[in-house]
Amino acid sequence: MDDSSLLSEFTLFLKEKKQEGIKVIAYLAHDNIPEELIDAAGFFPLRLIFGGNDELMDASHDFLPPSTCAFAQSCIGLFSVKPNDYKFLEMVDYIIVSNHCVSDICVSEIISKYFNIPRLNFYVSYTINENSLKYFKLELQDFRNQLEVIIDRKISDDDIHNSILKFNNFKKKLLEINELEMLGSEKLKLIHKSMLFGPDFLHDLENLIQKFKHTPQSVSNTSKDVFLTGCSIFINDNFIDLIEEGGGNIVFFDTWIGNHYYSQIIESNLIDIETDPLDVLVLKFKNNIYGDHSVPNFLEQKVSFIQKYSENYTKNKGRKLGVINHIIKFCDHISLMSSFLKDTLQEKGIQVLNLERDYSRANRGQLSTRIEAYLEMMK
């Protein structure tokens, strides 16, 4: 299925949701947004995980300077241009203004203000410690209140528990994707679809995973295995094609749209009906130690994660693993830490390609050359 069919299928899916009276709450693609609360309140959480192009980026320049991250620019472009595939964005009822990064704030604020979509607020501390966990709970309570005002009733603890379980089970299934032997682009499609449709897709996901497990897809044995970290490859972004055309195959997606999302699983025994469900969500935030939002230990955690994964991979598969750090141009978090990440990993013998790009068509050739050169070097 290509991205266009995926989006049209999603449009129908969302229309049905709306016909059932379900309202849609959108937010940018990152982590820490309590989708379980959104679900428990009877809304549909729509993660904006769509890539861009020249036209979409240009359309944002009425609101933001071009030195804004390409993803943020494109999100505004989508609401401004509303391309045919994205008509479903008209069904968005609320947008969450959150501070994953400052562009996240600016973009969601602009979408709310200039495209008349009421906003909800959810902010997250930059550190993860005892006090920021307490603060996270304050934000959760506030967010719950904001939702309750809209639906004009209380959200029960039971409903939140059920939603936590639902998303937890869904992520457990998604986690199995990591182990599938298949082409990276196919894996990514599966991840995209799952994260777009959410737990409603669980049944299909189970079947697909089952199918792939029984009939592993052949991957060219000359291709080089790649670990993708940094920014995600979003829907309608053909960046993965460049990697595959260059002779690489992404075996692990260590980004918001990938393992970073579905590895945030809470141990089942901790989802106790006796526990305040908000505390369970706080625990999830506490465990999110690899998130790029957090300071001051993001780099150490990320390096140790990649190092472990890479060592295990080589040990188990007997193959070398390349690391591509995907940097969407002007991304504060990923770009600022990129040289440190590369240097630290290289000191440990892991070769890293820091690949910075925006969504313009013009730089494809240059990107291909860099990818090919890197993969060639991996021999």
Partner: protein, 451 residues
């Protein structure tokens, strides 16, 4: 430049602040090696805890050796014997005699201060890029990275206060990768004032103070904090008086370009109060006095016909030639970034106050109503400041690579036009001195609107 230099000489306090800015290296070396004090790197005006804990806050660029004219060095030495006032009076006296050589020397001194700082900023900017920070980040961050790469190992700790700018917070994280030695002391400010978040921030401040205690081996008592807040409040009071009573008034104690130059100097130095709060307090208090004295005596300039141009933001990098250009075009440039961000609010320091809590309240207020958790709030701060200054126009510096403040321009322009009905223009900025001609053209067109 000569006019500006002439004027500055009349304010001995400005000479002192400038001298302390440029000769920081020797002062800091003495503090560190002879007096065994701990140096703490600070950025933005968050030096309070470092002062209260008995450490020496330092804005990293000040650890550099500056190429300063030998005359300023000479003046520095002379001042330690005769006092600064005597030096300043002497200079004015000699200059008034019209001895050309001396005039040149005096001009050189001031030109040196301003140019040297800017040159160093640019040097740090290049060094930052050479050492891995992408050229896509703002001028301020690139220069800060350069400063830490070159001199960061000399500090004993870095005081890291999180703000809403994600690039800044990540830069703070990167400091321990740049230099492993210094202790990293963090204060995380909750993004919003919800529930008991003030209590949480107070606790974060107490934890930071514990870190300071570990660093120095001394207890930080409530009275240490109160004593520093008292000094800090005096600094802020004078700073605010200069902004409101003098910069917004119709008679200036000097020509407007000089005035802006002084305001720019205050903006830079306020971040670490030149590493000595008492000395700085004395200087800024006497600066205010000197200004008032001159106004009282009718010395200075009637500026009532010159439009007030609020130039902002400048703390992350701006073209320092702008105020001179605006002056040449018939206007006056006003700088008030720290006040806009609510960082000049006084902190209650009475005997029954809980100083950590008061400091938390101060930081929270700045976050909530100054910097703001979103652009709607931030743009309100610009509006408030422009109207408090009675500004006739706004020049907004849009920093290349700034995703936090520069990004609010579209919203700001709309609000200014709707609510203040004054002209506003944006000037893009990347590096000091890079686009002076373009700045001139933009400002030229902008200032036409006031004719």
């Amino acid at each position: 430049m000569s006019l500006i230099a002439d004027e500055i000489i009349s304010f001995s306090s400005v000479l002192r602040i400038a001298y302390n800015l440029l000769t920081g290296r020797n002062y800091l070396k003495r503090k560190k090696f002879r007096e065994k004090e701990k140096l703490v790197a600070v950025t933005l005006p968050f030096s309070d805890l470092a002062f209260a804990a008995g450490t020496v806050p330092v804005f990293p660029i000040r650890m550099h050796k500056f190429e300063i004219s030998q005359y300023l060095t000479y003046l520095g030495s002379a001042s330690s014997i005769f006092g600064w006032n005597a030096v300043s009076n002497f200079l004015s006296f000699v200059k008034n005699l019209g001895i050309e050589e001396v005039s040149k020397i005096v001009d050189d001194i001031i030109e040196n201060v301003i140019d040297t700082i800017n040159e160093k900023y640019n040097e740090m900017y290049d060094l930052g890029i050479e050492n891995g920070i992408s050229s896509d980040f703002c001028y301020g961050l690139k220069s800060l990275v350069g400063s830490h790469v070159s001199k960061g190992r000399n500090v004993d700790a870095c005081l890291n206060v999180t703000i809403r700018c994600s690039a800044y917070n990540k830069y703070l994280e990167s400091l321990k990768s740049i230099n492993e030695g210094p202790r990293q002391i963090w204060i995380d400010i909750p993004p919003r004032n919800l529930g008991n978040s003030l209590e949480l921030l107070t606790d974060n401040i107490s934890n930071a103070l514990n870190e300071f205690e570990k660093l120095t081996g001394n207890n930080v008592k409530d009275n240490d904090l109160r004593d520093h807040f008292k000094i800090g409040n005096q600094v802020k009071r004078s700073y605010k008086n200069i902004i409101y009573d003098i910069s917004a008034s119709d008679f200036y104690p000097c020509n407007p370009a000089t005035f802006s130059e002084i305001m720019a100097l205050l903006s830079i130095t306020f971040q670490d109060y030149n590493s000595n709060a008492v000395r700085y307090r004395d200087n800024i208090v006497s600066l205010e006095k000197e200004m008032r004295e001159r106004i009282r005596n009718g010395i200075g300039m009637d500026v009532s016909k010159m439009p007030r141009i609020f130039v902002t933001p400048m703390f992350g990098g701006w073209e320092p030639k702008s105020h001179e250009i605006i002056y040449e075009l018939g206007g006056r440039a006003l700088y008030a970034d720290w006040e806009l961000l609510k960082l000049l609010e006084e902190i209650p320091n009475g005997p029954h106050t809980d100083p950590s809590e008061e400091y938390a309240r101060f930081l929270m207020r700045a976050t909530e109503t100054g910097i703001g958790c979103d652009n709607d709030k931030l743009t309100d701060s610009y509006l408030r400041m422009a109207s408090d200054l009675n500004a006739d126009g706004i020049v907004f510096f849009q920093l290349f690579g700034c995703h936090s403040i520069s990004n609010c321009y579209a919203m700001l322009r709309e609000k200014v036009r709707r609510e203040l009905e004054i002209p506003i223009t944006a000037i893009t900025f990347n590096r000091i001195g890079e686009n002076v001609e373009q700045v001139k053209t933009r400002l030229g067109a902008f200032m036409e609107m006031f004719k």
